[in-house]
């Protein structure tokens, strides 16, 4: 019997992309979204055609096209990524894939790019509707094109988040969080755009027409953040499925280090507000701290040998860049030092006590959950989800305590819980607290966590190296 081989995809495409596209284009969810979008947009344009005399017809059609397109690519498409890696893990097919020439990164990137390609297909099919809409008049061409691109970038980022998290063993992290978070986030973003008065009360599209410096900066920063978070989430997914010999941690840390240095340089030159820089640093640090402080890698010869090849310099860099939580601790405090120095070099800066407390609170807020994860010896791939659980729990405790303190009209109660990092931040809000005492208490607990964590990390790092030497490497 003659075998008729499929000729649908050329050899130069990634095997993973080919596999995912073959599967994905046949799924009911994609076909359903695709056809529904075409039918809905077709009906709307036909209906609008009959009411073409109305002045508002053009902008109404634009709004409807964008809303339906957003639902398709910002909500439905990313949600399809929720099972991307978990289904492979459950089916035990990851092992079979890593034994080919596919690296874990190519597996994850292939999953992501297939979903993004399908979103791109949806994007391409709505272009004819936008061209037809042009004839209704009143179109802000640049604004609408930029918004279309931004929606697509947002979709790609959200897909990266769901694909990356889909490797997590935690159901809450990989399924419930995206299912609740994505629609809520999309709704919040929509409301923010509609009601923030951007563009001086004009159309939403006016803001995206890149006429003001403010919008250019905002859009540039948004795209940068999307790239950074997209890369990190895909990288987290990669680490969760990668064999021990594949090290993705080092690249991740190097990227975070470069981004921190770039942010510090830009901040020192252009920024004069310490609080803005604190927020920027928090956004940069949140993903890298989360993954580096919870990393559960076993040091294996193929990874360590690459560092040892560079002699003393390699071994020194290994202290910060090898894929374990212990080196993650050293690395995160190194980043903190870079950020701390830059804050003192900001032009015309005036750093008040509250800023210092908030800065230290943000730092210990990221360190404290990791300390608990390691103190309780939580091993295995669930460390990230446990870290997030502790972070969320400490935030909830802080908010609850603040509510109780306010109802009692006394903040004295909060002093009992000042060791929980977010609590100290809530104490900066309003009066009734001795600022100097709060500063001292926050600094004390920061130093305490630092000392405990550094000692634990040093001990663990020495053990790992000793174990590696013992195993005959």
């Amino acid at each position: 019997m003659k075998i008729s081989f499929p000729q649908d995809f050329p050899d130069r495409l990634s095997p993973m992309l080919v596999k995912e596209l073959r599967q994905g284009l046949r799924t009911r969810s994609f076909i359903g979204v695709f056809l529904t979008l075409q039918i809905v947009l077709g009906i709307i344009l036909l209906g609008a055609g009959s009411a073409a005399t109305s002045d508002q017809a053009g902008s109404t059609i634009s709004n409807i096209i964008f809303i339906f397109f957003s639902i398709a690519v910002i909500i439905i498409q990313p949600m399809r990524g929720m099972t991307a890696l978990s289904s492979e893990i459950k089916g035990n097919t990851i092992d079979m894939m890593v034994l080919t020439r596919l690296s874990a990164w190519r597996i994850v990137a292939g999953k992501w790019s297939a979903l993004v390609s399908q979103s791109a297909l949806i994007l391409v099919t709505i272009i004819p509707y936008l061209i037809l809409r042009y004839f209704f008049g009143g179109m802000n061409l640049i604004g609408e094109v930029v918004m279309l691109i931004l929606i697509f970038i947002s979709s790609a980022t959200l897909t990266a988040i769901t694909v990356g998290l889909s490797a997590s063993p935690s159901v809450i992290l990989r399924s419930i969080l995206p299912m609740v978070g994505i629609p809520l986030g999309a709704y919040a973003a929509l409301m923010m755009i509609l009601f923030s008065g951007m563009g001086g009360g004009g159309s939403v599209f006016d803001f995206f027409s890149l006429e003001s410096t403010e919008s250019k900066i905002a859009i540039s920063l948004y795209i940068t953040a999307c790239l950074y978070y997209g890369f990190f989430l895909l990288s987290i997914g990669t680490s969760l499925i990668a064999p021990h010999a594949e090290n993705y941690s080092t690249l991740r840390r190097v990227v975070a280090c470069f981004v921190t240095i770039a942010a510090a340089a830009i901040g020192i030159i252009y920024c004069d507000d310490v609080d803005v820089m604190l927020v920027v640093y928090y956004l940069i640090f949140a993903p890298i701290f989360t993954i580096s402080l919870t990393e559960f890698g076993t040091l294996v010869p193929p990874v360590v040998q690459k560092f040892n090849r560079y002699g003393i310099l390699g071994r020194f860099l290994g202290i910060f860049l090898l894929p374990t939580w212990a080196t993650g601790v050293f690395f995160c405090y190194l980043l903190t030092c870079i950020a701390g120095i830059s804050l003192f070099l900001v032009r015309d800066s005036y750093i008040n006590n509250d800023s210092i407390v908030v800065g230290m609170g943000l730092l210990s807020g990221m360190v404290f959950p990791a300390l608990l994860v390691n103190l309780f010896k939580m091993y295995g791939p669930s460390r990230v989800s446990n870290y997030i659980l502790f972070s969320v729990a400490s935030g909830i405790i802080a908010l609850t305590l603040m509510g109780i303190a306010e109802s009692l009209s006394s903040k004295g109660l909060l002093w009992l819980f000042v060791w929980i990092p977010p609590v100290s931040m809530t104490m900066t809000d309003g009066g009734g607290i001795n600022d100097d005492a709060l500063l001292v208490a926050t600094a004390f607990f920061n130093m305490l966590y630092f000392a405990i964590f550094i000692c634990m990390a040093a001990r663990n790092y020495r053990r790992s190296i000793r174990e590696l030497n013992h195993s005959g490497s």
Binding site: M1, I3, R22
Partner: protein
């Protein structure tokens, strides 16, 4: 090229306090078929995963065709074909697309890829199933597909973890035939299974693992001989009447042990090879009013030999090769997920 296709030396793998693999050493020559036998949790899958470069040992060495699995996992992956004990198939993907994906992932392009897929599909008889969705196949067909996938890059060593588990008799015979053909082609096959009789027919050597330690390495005959040397001959006894009478009787007899109760009797072991003693046992049965209608000597099979060996180890009658002393520097933490959420 190394003399051995697989060489393992003092291999340990700990998961926290659990010693999954406890200092095992063995060698498998090129072109041989080795069966890997042991109870669930004996350490078979862990050993096989280490050999397939999917896991790391706590200590020790493992080599495939002379290449260190720990230091050069990528090179080792080119030499091995891996069939896991269980795996899922992909939705919305035909058998041909499945093999096409793995052939692409292994770096085959164009005509060469099509040629490899054709060869593998011919060998595993998957051609008639080319356009069937891979998740709609029977268990036997799925195993053939998995075997085909693992042969795509023409590996020298095939590691198969319980390939016959869950297969019907027909599919099992087909799989056994394919393994025999592969062995004739000179591939080294390392195969684990619970079906000892089939392993005995297929394998040149058998490797028995118990609690992470090797308790026997040799061919099936040597296992039977070593078990025979422990004493005892098996007899099949058929009764007319209540089979419980046989077990009640056997408990009271000095040199007789009931191994298995059956619907019409059971299997007993008499702890001597002397036929005269067997005749004595039979006459005692008759004298004690057991209505014996059949009494014949049974050939010892591999299962019996294995169970004998394990029970002798448990009773301290047979020594287990002691692994070299190991003082773990730090037991690695368990890698099972400990999710709070």
């Amino acid at each position: 090229m190394s003399d051995s296709a697989i060489r393992v030396h003092n291999l340990y793998r700990f998961f926290g306090p659990l010693q999954a693999v406890n200092g095992i050493s063995f060698e498998i020559p090129h072109g041989s078929v080795c069966g890997f036998v042991g109870a669930n949790g004996a350490g078979k899958t862990t050993t096989m995963r280490i050999l397939a470069s999917l896991d790391y040992p706590t200590m020790g060495h493992a080599e495939i065709c002379g290449i260190n699995v720990i230091h050069h996992p990528a090179e080792v992956r080119r030499l091995i074909g891996w069939m896991p004990d269980h795996f899922g198939n992909y939705d919305n993907m035909t058998v041909l697309e499945y093999l096409d994906f793995y052939a692409r992932a292994l770096g085959y392009k164009g005509k060469e890829r099509r040629q490899r897929i054709e060869e593998v599909m011919d060998f595993t008889d998957l051609v008639p199933l080319a356009d069937r969705f891979s998740n709609k196949l029977s268990k036997g067909m799925t195993q053939r597909l998995c075997l085909g996938r693992s042969l795509l890059h023409d590996p020298q060593v095939l590691i198969m973890d319980e390939p016959a588990a869950g297969l019907d008799p027909k599919a099992r015979v087909e799989l056994k035939h394919l393994i025999r053909v592969l062995a004739k082609e000179g591939k080294t096959i390392f195969i684990s299974s619970h079906i000892l009789s089939e392993l005995g027919e297929m394998c040149d050597t058998l490797l028995f693992l118990n609690n992470g330690r090797i308790v026997h390495h040799g061919d099936s005959e040597s296992l039977k001989r070593s078990s025979d040397s422990l004493g005892g001959v098996l007899y099949d006894v058929q009764l007319d009447g209540d089979p419980q009478a046989l077990s009640d009787w056997a408990i009271l007899q000095p040199n007789v042990e009931l191994l298995e109760s059956r619907k019409t009797g059971g299997r007993i072991r008499i702890d001597t090879e002397d036929p005269g003693k067997a005749a004595d046992v039979l006459s005692r049965m008759v004298k004690d009013n057991l209505r014996v209608i059949d009494f014949h000597r049974e050939q010892r099979n591999l299962e019996d030999a294995f169970i004998d060996m394990l029970s002798n180890i448990e009773n301290g009658n047979q020594a287990v090769p002691t692994p070299p002393p190991f003082h773990p520097p730090i037991p690695r933490p368990a890698e099972e997920p400990e999710a709070l959420i």
